[in-house]
Amino acid sequence: MQNANPKANALLEVNDLKVHFDLPRRLLSRDPAGTVKAVDGVSFSVQRGETLGVVGESGCGKSTTGLAVLRMVDISGGSVILDGQDITTVKGEPLRLLRRKMQMIYQDPFGALDPRMRVLDIIGEPLLVHKLVRNKAEYRKEVLEVMDLVGLNPKMAERYPHEFSGGQRQRIGIARALAARPELIICDEPVSALDVSIQAQIINLLEDLQKKLGLTYLFIAHDLAVVRHICDRVMVMYLGHVVEIADSEELYKNPQHPYTQALLAAIPIPDPRAEVQRAVEPTLKGEVPSPVNPPSGCPFHPRCKHASEVCKQQAPQLAATGDRHAVSCHLY
């Protein structure tokens, strides 16, 4: 539907994914107080070795999508297929085994590591969990190898996380994700909490690792410049829906959905002359509505300057507007 490549080579396929959370019931009522439709019908696929970026602002559901793929939240509808296997309802031991194939890198380099464990143990934990090594020597060898891969000094294996800087801690997190040699890595804002000068180091590292190990990334972020750089394709989400998906270059050159256009216009460019010359796009008015009570029809219509009657009534479908470019909007 949204990409021309045969799905046969897709490592990850997500079809009409829905993740709904019930709000806690009020005291004596039998019905839930409401439902948060965090993800409401998302479909995409990721080819092996590709990086798909997922962008959007708070409340769009991008993080929840990542968690759903990882099966860390319950899926309310739709399906997730990893390497040909439907993992939507897998439970128990088969789910644990699956966890070897996909791993996650977290946003917070300080909270993501257990402060009481040595780096050696943090990185090696997946090896123990999945019983991938036979003895201590092998364990150590594997861990040091991964440390070397991510650019950490192997002599630091006995240290504790608080002895490292933010960028190095993120490397530890990456090493931990790589230890069991997964195929898919879900990166949840992996550089947002890092200093600018360190972000570039980590981005380069992620790119190098992808080339070296043939990894596939689902890259969730809000920084559009970073996403453009590292991602092959980008998917824009708004209030639990996909509004646009295209090749990276194409999306930034030719954004079609009004929300994508507004997003791009809002990014400040680090160049005063370019800023002055830029077409003065009126900043997007209003705020993201609550996912408990989303607008009818197209979720973006209250803030869209092109909104018309049909937008209020009918939700648009994701439709191809070009080769490998799809938009969910009544304008097209």
């Binding site: 990882l70 860390m72 789910l95 644990r96 085994l97 699956l98 966890r99 070897r100 791993q103 996650m104 977290y106 917070d108 909270g111 993501a112 590591l113 257990d114 402060p115 009481r116 464990m117 934990e125 997946p126 969990v129 999945h130 000094n153 002599k155 630091m156 006995e158 240290r159 608080h162 002895e163 490292f164 800087s165 933010g166 190095q168 997190g173 931990r176 069991a180």
Partner: protein, 328 residues
């Protein structure tokens, strides 16, 4: 504002960890001197308990009727009781008893608290709800009633006391562990362990438990004191460890009360021992809690910025304040 950064010299690491323990003791003495005193009392108690047989000149039941009710003297440091037993020896053996009971019961209670608290907080949901209602129910009963009932069912004796006190304090303490567990559960690294496929047991033992250690340690010390007092109370009421085993509480009640006017030292000395032990443990526990907690958050200060300035060539402003900042 300033991050801890790595020094690229691996040799620094072990030295720093050794240094941490000394640093801790240094801080204990400097900032919480009362806690340091408490620590020393605890140490004294512990050593007395361990080496009781060596320290005590006589057995705890060495009857010597000739020397009964002697006031403290050079020969009998704490005097003798009504059947001529050396009070000092009895106190020393009593220390041993207190130490055994206190540590055993406290350890049991902490074990129970941790098991209930950690599982309840981690699993949440209905399990947590039912468990907590049971805990609530248990805590509705006054301790004393429960103790009396338990003793009447189980009979007096050292193991019974340990069991009862362990159970009683364990269930009550589970709440503290539970709240620590709830906040530990929220950490991203726990989420990471789950997403890695780690088993629940592994997460509980490897990730949750070590990160709730700080409140558990503090809980341990406070429980110690409470157990000693509780055991003394039980013995005082005659429900605890039966004579002739020299429980301090028992000594207070049986010997002390009966001979209060003839031989006041029989009451005073166990009383003082009890007071000192509890005081020491409490002070140390408080100091431990203070030192473990706010330090991790990096020390607070008052927002009074008294500016210390180097003397300058031009006249300083009229209302320049003298420095008053304290250097740590």
């Amino acid at each position: 504002m300033h991050e801890a950064l790595v020094q690229n010299t691996p040799a620094a690491a072990p030295a720093r960890r050794r240094g941490k323990r000394f640093e801790f003791m240094g801080r204990l003495f400097r900032e919480r001197p009362l806690g340091a005193v408490g620590a020393m009392i605890c140490l004294l108690l512990l050593l007395t308990g361990v080496f009781a047989d060596v320290i005590a000149p006589a057995g705890y039941n060495a009857i010597n009727p000739i020397d009964r009710l002697q006031a403290p003297s050079a020969e009998y440091w704490f005097g003798t009781d009504q059947i001529g037993r050396d009070v000092f020896s009895r106190i020393v053996h009593g220390a041993q008893l207190s130490v055994i009971v206190a540590f055993a019961a406290t350890t049991l209670s902490i074990f129970i608290s941790v098991v209930i608290g950690v599982t309840s907080s981690y699993f949440g949901g209905r399990f947590d709800m039912y468990t907590q209602r049971l805990v609530d129910g248990w805590m509705c009963f006054p301790d004393l009633i429960l103790l009396i009932v338990a003793v009447s069912v189980l009979g007096p004796g050292i193991w019974q006391v340990i069991l009862i006190l362990g159970l009683l304090f364990g269930i009550a303490g589970s709440r503290i562990v539970r709240s620590a567990g709830l906040s530990a559960k929220e950490n991203v690294f726990v989420h990471a362990a789950r997403s890695m496929g780690a088993s629940t047991l592994r997460i509980l033992l490897r990730h949750i438990l070590p990160n709730v250690m700080a409140p558990i340690i503090v809980l341990y010390t406070t429980r110690l004191a409470a157990v000693i007092l509780a055991e003394s109370g039980l013995s005082f009421l005659g429900l605890g460890i039966p004579p002739p085993t020299p429980s301090w509480g028992g000594m207070l009640s049986l010997d002390g009360r009966s001979y209060m006017f003839q031989a006041p030292w029989l009451a005073i000395i166990p009383g003082v021992a009890l007071t000192l032990a509890v005081f020491g443990i409490n002070m140390f526990g408080d100091a431990l809690r203070d030192l473990l907690d706010p330090r991790m958050r990096g020390g607070g200060g008052r927002y009074v910025a008294q500016v210390r300035r180097k003397p300058k060539a031009e006249p300083a402003p009229v209302n320049a304040q003298p420095t008053s900042s304290t250097e740590v």
